[in-house]
Subunit: 470 residues, 2 copies
Amino acid sequence: PQGTRDQRPAHMALREHLFAAVVACFKRHGAAAIDTPALELRETLMGKYGESGKLIYELQEQGGELLALRYDLTVPFARYLAMNKITTMKRYHIAKVYRRDSPATSRGRYREFYQCDFDIAGHFDPMIPDAECLKIVHEILSELKLGDFLIKVNDRRVLHGVFAICGVPDSKFISTCSSVDKLDKMPWEDVRSEMVAEKGLSPEAADHIGEYVRLHGGLELIEQLLQDPKLSQNKLAKEGLGDMKLLFEYLTLFGITGKVRRCWGQEEPQAPQLRMLTGFCVPQICFDLSLARGLDYYTGVIFEAVLVQQENDHMEEPVGSVAGGGRYDGLVGMFDPKGRKVPCVGVSIGIERIFSIVERRVKASGEKVRVTETQVLVATPHKHLLAARLKLISELWDAGIKAEMLYKKDPKLLKQLQYCEDTGIPLVAIIGEQELTDGVVKLRVVTTREEVRITFYTRIQKCFHNLGMV
Amino acid sequence: PQGTRDQRPAHMALREHLFAAVVACFKRHGAAAIDTPALELRETLMGKYGESGKLIYELQEQGGELLALRYDLTVPFARYLAMNKITTMKRYHIAKVYRRDSPATSRGRYREFYQCDFDIAGHFDPMIPDAECLKIVHEILSELKLGDFLIKVNDRRVLHGVFAICGVPDSKFISTCSSVDKLDKMPWEDVRSEMVAEKGLSPEAADHIGEYVRLHGGLELIEQLLQDPKLSQNKLAKEGLGDMKLLFEYLTLFGITGKVRRCWGQEEPQAPQLRMLTGFCVPQICFDLSLARGLDYYTGVIFEAVLVQQENDHMEEPVGSVAGGGRYDGLVGMFDPKGRKVPCVGVSIGIERIFSIVERRVKASGEKVRVTETQVLVATPHKHLLAARLKLISELWDAGIKAEMLYKKDPKLLKQLQYCEDTGIPLVAIIGEQELTDGVVKLRVVTTREEVRITFYTRIQKCFHNLGMV
């Protein structure tokens, strides 16, 4: 089907490596795993994703319930918490989600793709779980060695306040957000035109918004806005800025508010040639008022991580955000019959985009990825020795050794050695008539052709043990 | 949705343990992993599953292709081989499949469930890959310690031959198979009536079939049937019996043709009380002519593993088969434009049934399953120490240690210790004013309350290292 793909063995090996790093981080932060069905009732998903709701895959009515494929892992998590009356939980969830989007497969955008989510639910003191989510993004992106990255942070309440003091009515909050969110792809002039022409804001309001949303910085910017005569009068903005300040203090304690060499944002030169030459420093985690995020359900902190383009990275187009998330304190209440709220904050790692970057790099490096873990090939040098091979390989399997043999009665030795070279198997265990008579096995290192004769097969195990293979 | 369920953390922990054992076995046998989309084109799935095809989940037509959810992993594998013109491959695939079946959740039967498949594709010498599939079933069921099990083996060609010499026309082959397949749930008399009344066989044909399909045994039965004056004249049956003989020889070399104490089959006493008292021995792998299997696509060897009921196992109902598979030499050709065949044999582990058994056992044992792997809780004994906690936990995370803290500014020490007991965290790292002044951390073992003061925090890492926790 369009926008989907098979994962061949080389993909899977790489993918397992990436998942392992992500899971290790989630477990390091004490998260438990859950899984939910890929199928949800349609009513569970409806009205949670704003305009994107039209991209939900619906199932045919075949008698029984009206079903749809999950669109993300956040809504099912909220449904899970409400259904089971859970008020405190730290969980991760790695699973496929489905979107009837226009696929852009070269950039890692598919209709079926994995999400890797970590969320903290519960009534806690402000910004402690939020800071942990950002720490997790920082740990994972650092560990995967994707190059420099930048994490943009904002707060929906600050945006609310900014729009309010600029004279935007509440009813236009989400649509104004979606314009602002385009600032990372469009120059300010175009965003301004959209606000005025399509969203119906006054030119004065748009200009006023422009003064705010092009701001970004660190603690000093937060302090400055807290002093802003108009903004500091707005209750929501003041709350949001107070929490931003706390968040940046915690992030400093986590030691992740350092600087990176180069930023990929709207204030850099537009021409790629110039961009490559400019070398200014920006903070790695940045309070950025242009960050708005598309989804309806965010209520507080929001964030997004992007990779910083590097000279030697020949990407045709930027990969966009590689992680994102935020606080959604109202979503669980939507599934509770009594509307009881469970505050939540979470992060989603854009593993597909990361995968497409890593895959491109592996391809460029020409490195050969082994797709199996086989340690030894059981081989025979001449005919009529199938029984000996079957007996030996069975012993190896029972001893926990990863072993293969060719599925031929009488394969040529050359073919057997060739198979090792093709698949990267490091050792061959050879048994011929002579070895059978002597009760030994000849063990050969494929690359060096070095050989040892070892006593059949209590010794073979010991040998493997010494090689660190068991 | 009906027939689906959320996997809570305790389930996930158990599930990960089972998957790990299965994957380890598949990798030991040199298989590479692949993944295919959960969505397939409807035309890919249609006409592959016989009558069960009506249980396929179809997606709503929303513009674009007609899609359906995959029903198993075998058909997508065949489609994958044909699409990519692959003629040799050993792969495993662990993923969810979807069936609009009537759910029987207590027996582990769901509408969304995992399959764990291992398949070998390619033109090889007879029965070598087939024997490996049976070895894999034997290894996995032994390793998971599910108790005694029995593997029934048959060959579709032998059944074809038997039905032919009994006068069943080719057109009634599949429907006669489906009657025969009920012999493990119904007495022979009922199966016979069904054949005559519903399937339209003559009473003589049915009786004749009955003489054959109630036979089961080992090599000696195969030899006996090879001498059978009528059966030995049938080309297909002779081929099938020849291969069965070879298969059992290979299985003997693999050392898995031993006996188990008790068999759960149609020749045992029907009353459970009697069944518990009878103690006769049966071969663990058994040539059983009543095994027919439902799916259309099998062309040769077929097999199924069942658990042998034990006295101390208080199951309300038998769990049915826990693994099954067989040879399907024609399926890949159905997806190739030129009809080129790729012979395949494979096994599917019934992980959901196994999971429901293991889960019931864990529940009965009252054992508490830890759902997280957190090694240490970072705690403070009094107020105003959040910064110290944040700094310490960040160091621990960066050192690869699995650490948690409570998301409160000033949690009570008792609450923090309680959290460890509730979640099974073995250690607490305590920092108070005194410890901060002395530059140390107090490390306490939760269960014994034993304490050590260790120097802040190069030493903490060493300490964890010695405890084998890093």
